[in-house]
Amino acid sequence: MTIWLPLLALNYLSWALLCLAVARYYRHHFSSEPSSTRRRVLRIVGWLTTLLAYVISVRSRGWDIGSVDWCASWMLTAIVWVLLQPYLPRVSRWLAFIGVLSAIALTVYPSSASF
């Protein structure tokens, strides 16, 4: 069931982006002040990422189960991100890369998520 890797990874990436869009956390991760444009971009891409995750989830398992899959992974990936922040912030960023890779893979091979 390869839908789970992209679903979890994309939702996790979405939380990473939404969190980094908050000035306080951006500063904590990158030790620099984010411009308001950057913050807006992070927010927008963050929401689009989770929307993409929802689309692939529903396409894979239908409206009812797909929505449940997405919502459950949405909540759990948020929890994982928050748990990592005080202990392993760098690891939390690296994990987000898996989300980026999944997104790229899905763009290049869209059929891989549609069963």
Partner: protein
């Protein structure tokens, strides 16, 4: 005005939350474990491991059930499926407790009794206390809804504090952060699980619809829900009883998918009828279609009309809660979310007591505060001990004991009681949280080893070789959870030490300040 509103909501959240927290923790932990009830059922029935390959015989199972309950009028049989290779039989005999047995799928013989993973399911929806228990659970669900609603209202800075978690701040701040983030990030799940949990048994809790719409006639109400045509008894025994296996095969063919259960009604009468309910793993609301067969001739009679729309909505809501759809992965997610909810409850009790640590310390153990401390350790640290002990009892109790299932349940209760008493006695001078977490850790870490020693053919290595991933899963998960509890036990040691260090540092700086004062 707004301030008084927030204050009253804070009061409601604190007190509705506290009162229900221990019962709700038991319900939450039971429900979390019940995500894998069928897997635990299987693990707890070694007679089912390494079944000889061969055909399933529903007829043998039915014959077995009829011998066990000769006066019963209806039999329910659940054919083997991916999660459970046994045939499960349920039967009600008038004026007797209902029978719920696992049967060998080859010959229908009864498998040595165990409470199974179903024990956690039963604990979850009725606290193992029958109808009264289900009312308590319903009340707990409603109080949880109140706690959630009031919690959302009082949590002012939801979005500002969305990602906040400061475990190193220590003490009350860390506990409150933990409670907030598990509560907020899991909020859709918590709201859904509370509401759907209550409405599953709504026919126990709310009679108004039946009273007004049906003048209290429950039979007509249930008939309207099921859409099943009335079967008229012929008052003579059937001259022939069709093969259930033949009916099952036909049903699977017509449905194009597996059958969840066979219901055999009026088994002593010529009007014997068999209904085949479709399994519905592909839908949250579960199986939709039911086929009806003539139980004497075995011929297909009709298909039941689709359930009423509102009932389908009910089935969807109920399905959301019971998570019998979508395969193993979603059950893992619910397991993790249920664990999150348990953490939310546990951190809440810690917030409550830490916020009042001064008063609690002054009042001592024989007070309301003391009761809260005792309940905290007894329930939160004690129930995991009992749950692990249940699995140990399952393997250690001899299989030919007549009252085996009851003894397993008693082991659960006895170990919980012992853990609770230990917790209460050691609260003042000892470290009961550490002790109880350590016991749980040992029980869970050693489970695979104990399993291998008592049931070598079901051991972890044998299961890996057989590719029996359910058994592997139980042993591996137990080990991983054991590591988790070991870590919790270590934390419980450190927290006390850090708190004492801080207190000593504070006392020291105070004396220094006093010494330096002119």
């Amino acid at each position: 005005m707004k301030n008084a509103f927030r204050q009253s909501m804070a009061w409601l959240h604190t007190w509705a939350g506290l009162i229900v927290s221990w019962m709700l923790f038991a319900i939450f932990l039971g429900g979390t474990l019940a995500c894998f009830d069928k897997e635990l059922d299987y693990w707890m029935r070694p007679a089912l491991h390494h079944l000889a390959p061969g055909p399933t015989s529903m007829d043998a199972a039915a014959a077995s059930l009829r011998t066990m309950a000769p006066h019963a009028d209806t039999l329910y049989l659940r054919p083997p499926d991916a999660r459970d290779p046994s045939i499960h039989g349920f039967v009600f005999e008038p004026s007797k407790a209902y029978l719920d047995v696992a049967l060998n799928p080859r010959d229908g013989k009864r498998i040595p009794a165990t409470v199974g993973g179903n024990f956690f399911f039963d604990l979850h929806y009725s606290l193992q206390a029958g109808k009264l228990g289900s009312y308590l659970v319903g009340l707990a669900g409603m109080l949880m809804l109140l706690a959630l609603i009031s919690g959302v209202i009082i949590h002012r800075r939801v979005f500002k504090d969305f990602f906040v978690f400061r475990p190193r701040a220590g003490g009350q701040r860390a506990w409150l952060d933990g409670h907030n983030f598990t509560g907020v990030l899991g909020l859709p799940f918590h709201l859904m699980i509370a509401y759907t949990g209550v409405i599953i048994m709504m026919s126990n809790y709310m009679y108004a619809g039946v009273q007004i719409g049906y003048r209290g006639d429950l039979v007509r109400y249930y008939d309207a829900l099921s859409g099943a045509p009335k079967i008229v008894e012929q008052h003579r025994p059937p001259d022939h009883v069709a093969s259930l296996d033949a009916i099952l095969n036909d049903a699977v063919r017509r449905l194009g998918g597996p059958v969840a259960s066979l219901e055999v009604e009026h088994i002593h009468d010529a009007s014997i009828t068999v209904s085949a309910l479709a399994a519905g793993n592909g839908k949250v609301a579960g199986g939709l279609r039911t086929l009806v067969y003539d139980g004497a001739q075995g011929s297909f009679r009709s298909e039941l009309s689709a359930p009423p729309a509102a009932y389908r909505v009910y089935q969807f809501l109920s399905g959301l809660h019971r998570v019998q759809f979508g395969g193993t992965a979603i059950r893992w997610l619910y397991f993790l979310l249920g664990a999150t909810g348990s953490v939310m409850l546990a951190t809440a009790t810690q917030v409550w007591i830490k916020k009042r640590s001064r008063q609690a310390g002054a009042a001592g153990l024989r007070s309301g505060y003391g009761l809260v401390k005792i309940l905290n350790v007894a329930v939160i640290a004690g129930m995991p001990v009992a749950s692990a002990a249940l699995l140990w009892a399952n393997r250690l109790l001899p299989y030919d004991l007549p009252d085996r299932a009851n003894l397993e349940a008693e082991s659960f209760c006895a170990s919980w009681l012992l853990a609770a008493v230990w917790g209460a006695l050691r609260l003042q001078r000892g470290k009961p949280w550490r002790d109880l977490f350590a016991v749980t850790a040992v029980l869970l870490l050693a489970l695979p080893l104990m399993n291998a020693l008592t049931q070598p053919r079901s051991s972890l290595l044998a299961s890996v070789a057989d590719r029996d991933w359910v058994l592997v899963g139980v042993d591996v998960t137990s080990f991983v959870l054991g590591l988790g509890f070991a870590w919790l036990g270590w934390l419980s040691t450190c927290t006390r030490q850090r708190a004492e260090t801080r207190q000593r540092a504070a006392a020291l700086s105070l004396t220094q300040a006093q010494a330096e004062a002119p």
